[in-house]
Structures are given as C-alpha cells and as structure tokens.
Symmetry: C2
Subunit: 460 residues, 2 copies
C-alpha cells in the first residue's frame, strides 16, 4: 500500500476521479495476456503529457516504481506491476490529433486503439500496415513500446518502420521530442527507434508521429494446402525469388490443421500437412495476374489444393481457417504458452522438425502457425497446468525451443518482446557484454530505476 | 605526436605495414568532403574485429582519441581527427562475407564500397536500394554510421531500413553483436538502429548484416519541366495521392536550371522553372501504364514539357541534366556549402521561397535540388572564400536556412549528419533536455570519451 500523502499528491496532479485504490480497480490493472497477476498500489489515469511528467517527478522523489500500460494485451508481462507501485494507464489519452493527407503523416496520442486508427486513415484513402492480432483493443502506445508486428509485416515492415517521431516523458520526468514529421532526419542519436521496442522501460510515450502509405486499391487472397511443411516453405522462397512480395504469407503446420479439423466443420483434406494463406495487394487489374503467377510458381511443390477468392466474402471464408485456430487450440488443452520465435525464412522446416521432436520428447502438444514470410513462428505449447509436472515440462520445452531457434540464427521473439516472461532466458540470446551496454543505457536514462523496473533484464 | 611506445604497441596489434606516421599518409587521412583538415598522430589499418578491439583497449588505457574512417566521403566532418590521435580506417576489411539468396540477407565487412556491393547482389538478381551520391567510393560501414540516403529512398527508405544486425566494437573495446539475420527481432534494446546514424561516436562497426530485396525487373525514367516550383511540388503530392510511389522524385529549382543551361549544351526551355526526374520500377509491362498515368496526373500542373525514356540510353540522357549540376555549380563560384535540410514534402515550395529570400538578403547564389519525394533539399550556398566577408555571409545564411527548415517542421539534415559542420547549430534543433539524454548514452557507452570525441555535440 502506498502512503495516503502519495495518493493525495497523485490526485492533485490528475484529479480525484483519475486515481484509484479500490480493490476492484487494482485487480483490473493487475494482469495482461500472460494471465499472471501483480497488484499495483494505485492506478493513475493521466490526461496529458504534463500530468505524466509530474507523476514521474513525484515517483522519482519518492522512489516509487511506475508501470506504464496501454490495453494490457501484451503476451510477455511488459505492463505488469511486478513491484507494486503505480500503474500509469494511457487510456484517457486517446485522441487522433492530426491526419496530414498531403504528407502522409499522422499524429496521435498513445491511447488510440490500433484498429480505430487504421479505420480512420483508411477512410481518407491512407494505410497504416502494422496489424498485431490484438489490434481491436491494443493501443498504438503499446504497439510502439513493444514494436508490434502482424501478418502484413512481410511486405510492409513492423511498427518501428512507421514511427517518425515521438514525444516521450523520460523516466525522470523530462519531456523530450524525438524525430519529427519528415521522412528523413539524421540529427543526433535515433532515440525514436531506441524507444520502439524498449517495452516501456526507457520512457513513457506521450505522442506519436506516424508515417502512412497510400491505401492499396485492392487485395486478393489465396489459400494453398501442401502435402508437407517443406513444400510450403519452398513456396515462400520461390514466390519471393520471383520478385513477388505478398502482403501476407501465413502458415499453419500439420498439427494446427488437425486441431482445426477436429474442432470445426471446415473441410481440409487429410493429405494437407501445411497451409499457406497468401494475400497480395495493389493495383486491382494486376492482382489476378499475380495470383495466377503465384499458382504457377508453387504448383510443383506438393500442392494438394489451391483456393483463390474472387470476392471479399470468399476471401473472408479463406481466412476462417486461420481465425478458427485459437478456439480450436483450447480444445486440445486449457493452458497455452504462446512463444513467437523467429528464424531465417529458409530454416522454418528445420525449426518445425525440431519443435516436433521436442513435443514428442516431453509428450506435450505443440502447435505451430505464424508468419512464414518472416520466419516468425508462433509456437503454442498446450498444457493443463492442473496436471502435476506439466508446467515444468512446458518450461523445459520452451527453453529447448528457444535454444533451437538461436542455433538456427534466430531470435526468441519476433514480435512479443521479453517483459518478464522471457527475461529468465535472456542470457541464451544476449551476451553479458551486450546486456551490460543495454543496462548502461537504462541506467543513464533512469538513474533511480523507477520506470518499469525488472523488465527485459530481471536485475534492471 | 604520439609517443613511440604507442606506435610500437599499435604495430604489434596490426603489423608494421598497417601503421603509418609518415607525413604524406597523415595528410591523406586528414580531410574529407568538407575540405577541412586535421592531422592525426597516426593512421592504423586493422584487418579484423579482434585488432579493432585491441586498438580500442590500448586507446582507453592511454586515453588517446580514436577517429574511425570509411572512405572519408562525408559532408560533415564525421571522420575528421579533430583532436589528433588515431585514425582507424576500415579499408582493409572489404570482404563480402555472404550473400544468402534464399533469405535475402548479406553479411559484409565495413570497408566494402557501396557500389561494389550493389553490383555483387544485382548479379544474383537481388537489390540493395540505398544510393548515396558517393556510392562509387563510400563504404557500407560509413553509410551505416551516417545512415546514408539517396534518390531511391522515397520508395525504399534509408540505409537504416536495410540493417538487420551489426557486430560492433564498443568504445571500450568490447565486441558485441546486435540484431541478427532475421526479418524481425524484439529481444533487448535496438542497439542496431542506435548505431545507425550515430556517426561513429558510439561504436566501430566491424560487420554488417544487410536485408536485400528482389531486384525490380525494369525501370522507366521521365523528365518533366514545370513552369514553377509549386507545380513540381504539387505533382509530387498528386502522384503519391494516386497511390504511385516512384523510385525517385528528384527535383531541381529554377536557379539550378539556369546554372545547367549556362554551363552545358543541354536544351532546357526558358519557361522551365523546375524539373522533376521521375523514375518508376517494377514489372516491365506495368511501367508504361504507370508512366502514362503519371503524365495524366501531372498534366494540369504547369507542365512545360514531358520527356519519357524508351530505352536505357534515353534514360541515361535524361539523367544527364541532374548529373551535370555539380560541375555547373563550380562555374558559379568556387566554394560550396552543401546543406541537406528536410521538410515535410508539402512545404518544399515555401522552403524554396524562404531560401530565395535569404539568397537575396545576403546577395549569395543559393542553388537547390534534391529529393522532392522526401522533402530533402540539397541547399548549395555558393561563395568565393577568398572574397572578404563572403564566408561570414554564408554562415549567417546557413543559420537562417536551418531556422527556416525547423520553423516548417523540418530538420537540419536528412542524410549528411551533424559531424562538426552542423554541431554548432545543434541547439537550434535538439533541446537541452534531449541533448542531455543523448550525451548520457554516449557517456554510458564511452566513459573515457575515446571514440570520435567532439562530434555531433562539440562538448561530447
């Protein structure tokens, strides 16, 4: 519990109704998508940059940890108040401040929900590509803090690639701006990209300057069933080798197909051991030709069946198989560890084989799908925590999955970040020397270790 | 002069023939494209990461400043040995280590010349887009350190967008790797992008992991003459609004055209007060249609003449007008300050008007061309340093140009960096608080201030 005078000081900054110590409220802000729970001492809802700055100044003076939070949809516990203290939510700061149609730049507050922003820019013919699965509720501030990805990243890049500038409240409460509305800029160190993916440990994002693209005229969806994961992986490489970068190249492995087949009425032939959902976008009249070219290119690679959508409704039907995965998995086992390793694209089949071997070794179902074009595999380790020993087995399996990805030149996380969930595994990927440099940066910016302490590096 | 024991220690690290204190050699490494000169105490040519590491350890132990250098083609003095000490060149580390055609990733040493690398990847159907004007001699290590740009950046982005990972020798001599060969990765802070554009002040780049694209099948060049800079600027916005992002959107203002007309035999009608060179790339059969669409879109915007190249030779002829600019300028005045401000695209005409007013105020010719699609204007302030008072006038004019760009939401530099040339103007763009954070990062990584001291921030 925080002392009453601290609560009073916070109320003076943001107003009584924007500070809560009610048990019910604290519980609401105690968890995220990891389903771990840590109760904060207080939840504060600032309405302005100035208020965030004053909260950080108070927190530094009183040495109270602050945990910034968007929508709490993260998969690695980046927003969890692991040391109590203050949860600082950006929910009230949810305004789209500007959409500059001439320069293809938008300025937003951090609490804007990703999908709401996408719809707003699409209404005027513009396009914000990053599309994390959480986009219906995740906020742009959270997306920037985690450097969110999504299916479209194979063609369009990740959140970081669209962030031109930021206003940031530093861990000590200063307000700085980084970057700006220009397409280029090389004056001073790139604090913008440093903040992207720093998981709320180096600053609180209070305003975001976003680069937009023209909205593609149309898109076309294909669903291709392969007789092996190798065929699907070769198809990905072959398409790109033919100078086509599709908007999405989503894959599902054989185990995922089995889950979907068991749990739904979707028709998937037994011979299908891998699925690719391929979407291309651009000039309408060019798309039919591209879809035909793709079908030709991949034909020799063990294709069981190709379905090409001719209408938006047909496209939606093809995506149904992908969208049914989450619900299907729940029928396998109640608890899920959702990892998101990333390997060089060509290593996907080898990685899937390694994961299959790990699943067999520990007798745990592991189901894989994700972004084949990026080599970004969502590894779903399905257990029942109530069964004794399952959790321990899962933890061992996860470590082996990470080691396998790293051995293939990959990374433990393509999109989800480290937070607390992957922090224990950090030494597998980041050498002590690299970690020392990262911690030195954290210490330089946050000398009192107030902002989101214990994240990424547990000893930070 | 450095003590003989230091020279001896350096010779032990890199071998006798890779250390030079000969006056002629010192002079060769004393200048860059700024034409300022600072004599180093010694020039060292390491051949490996290990050797760079040992040099940095020695330099720290002895408190000798180290100035890393690629080809010395920078425009802002980033590689100049302003405090004597050691010039560390990466010329010997010039190997392309790998071109992974399946994953579209290359690994190179820092001394590889940009154009040589582009040719090597194009030979196997791949593409490295960043194309700084210096590409025939500049090195990839230097390109990364400065975050080089070029005409193609409007479509393809800058150097930073292609750097997936680095091996870096830190200022204290540790060797760390950042990022890796995957398309995504969010584990730990993004030291890769922090190093990009840090102008050799935060680490010495010893290996670079580069993202490649499939080489576009073909390109098509158009040259369009406009009766005003406003028409050209509107054309840029109109093309992008029609969902076409050309590969290049290069512009030249009226004063540039006058210079070219006077100095060459190129035929440019008197009515032309602005030029756009527009290039589109992609699928061959799509390009004719795109060129026609562009011609239609821009027709109402004061077009004096449109020339569309039908062959590579014709394309080369159209580029001739742009390539003749540098030589033409020399006839205006012998000395040139070459700035590269960047403003939001729509502000280009307003910025050109401001520059014209500044040129008139100081009675100095200022000639503008550059990358209109990015709003990145190369501002060439032409003087004769031998004429008394001209240098002072130029300096005042430069400051006014910077202030004008910043007032329009722009930046002092889109591509060239700060180095020492723009360091005195840093307070115009970077607030004291932001600067404090940048300096804190420098200090955290380089506690003895050994690596490229006094760059970007003169007091760093």
């Amino acid at each position: 519990m925080l002392e009453p005078r601290i609560i009073k000081a916070l109320e003076e900054i943001v107003g009584d109704k924007n500070v809560s110590t009610e048990k019910a409220d604290l519980i609401c802000y105690s968890y995220d998508a990891t389903q771990q729970k840590f109760l904060p001492g207080v939840v504060v809802h600032p309405g302005s940059t100035e208020e965030i700055s004053r909260i950080m100044q108070l927190a530094n003076a009183e040495r109270i940890p602050v945990f910034p939070r968007g929508a709490g949809s993260g998969f690695t516990g980046g927003s969890l108040p692991t040391k109590g203290g203050i949860v600082l939510t950006t929910e009230r700061m949810d305004q789209i401040l500007e959409i500059d149609q001439e320069n293809l730049v938008a300025v937003v507050q951090p609490g804007v929900v990703t999908e709401a922003f996408q719809q707003a820019v699409e209404k005027v013919g513009l396009f914000y590509p990053p599309d994390p699965a959480s986009l219906k509720f995740s906020t742009l501030g959270g997306n920037v803090a985690e450097c969110a990805g999504g299916p479209r990243c194979v063609k369009y890049g990740v959140t970081k690639d669209y962030i031109l500038g930021l206003e940031v409240v530093t861990p000590t409460g200063d307000v700085i701006t980084t970057g700006g509305p220009t397409m280029k800029g090389v004056v001073g160190y790139d604090l913008t990209k440093l903040m992207c993916g720093s998981e709320g440990t180096l600053g609180i994002i209070s305003r975001i300057v976003i680069k937009l693209l023209p909205l593609p005229e149309a898109k076309k969806t294909m669903l291709v069933l392969f007789d092996s994961i190798d065929g699907a992986a070769q198809a990905v490489s072959a398409i790109i080798a033919h100078k086509i970068i599709p908007t999405t190249l989503e894959f599902m492995d054989g185990r995922t197909i089995d889950c979907v087949r068991q749990a739904t009425s979707l028709q998937v032939p037994e011979a299908a051991r891998a699925v690719l959902i391929i979407e291309v976008d651009g000039d309408r009249e060019f798309l039919d030709k591209q879809a035909r070219r793709i079908a030709e290119i991949i034909a020799p690679l063990g294709v069981v069946e190709t379905r090409i959508a001719e209408t938006p409704a047909e496209s939606e039907a093809l995506w149904q198989i992908r969208r049914s995965v989450s619900a299907s998995l729940r029928k396998v086992n109640p608890d899920k560890f959702n990892e998101d390793i990333c390997v060089p694209r060509s290593k996907v089949p080898e990685m899937i084989r390694r994961i299959d071997a790990i699943a067999e070794k520990y007798a745990i179902p592991i189901v894989n799908f994700g972004h084949a074009g990026d080599g970004n595999i969502h590894v779903n380790i399905m257990i029942d925590k109530k069964v004794e020993g399952e959790l321990e087995k899962a933890e061992k399996a996860i470590e082996e999955v990470f080691k396998g990805a790293l051995a293939l030149g990959g990374t433990m996380s393509g999109e989800h970040g480290v937070g607390i969930a992957k922090a224990p595994y950090i030494p597998l990927e980041i050498t002590e020397q690299s970690a020392a440099y990262m911690k030195a940066i954290k210490k330089a910016l946050d000398p009192n270790n107030i902002l989101n302490p214990g994240k990424i590096f547990l000893d930070n």
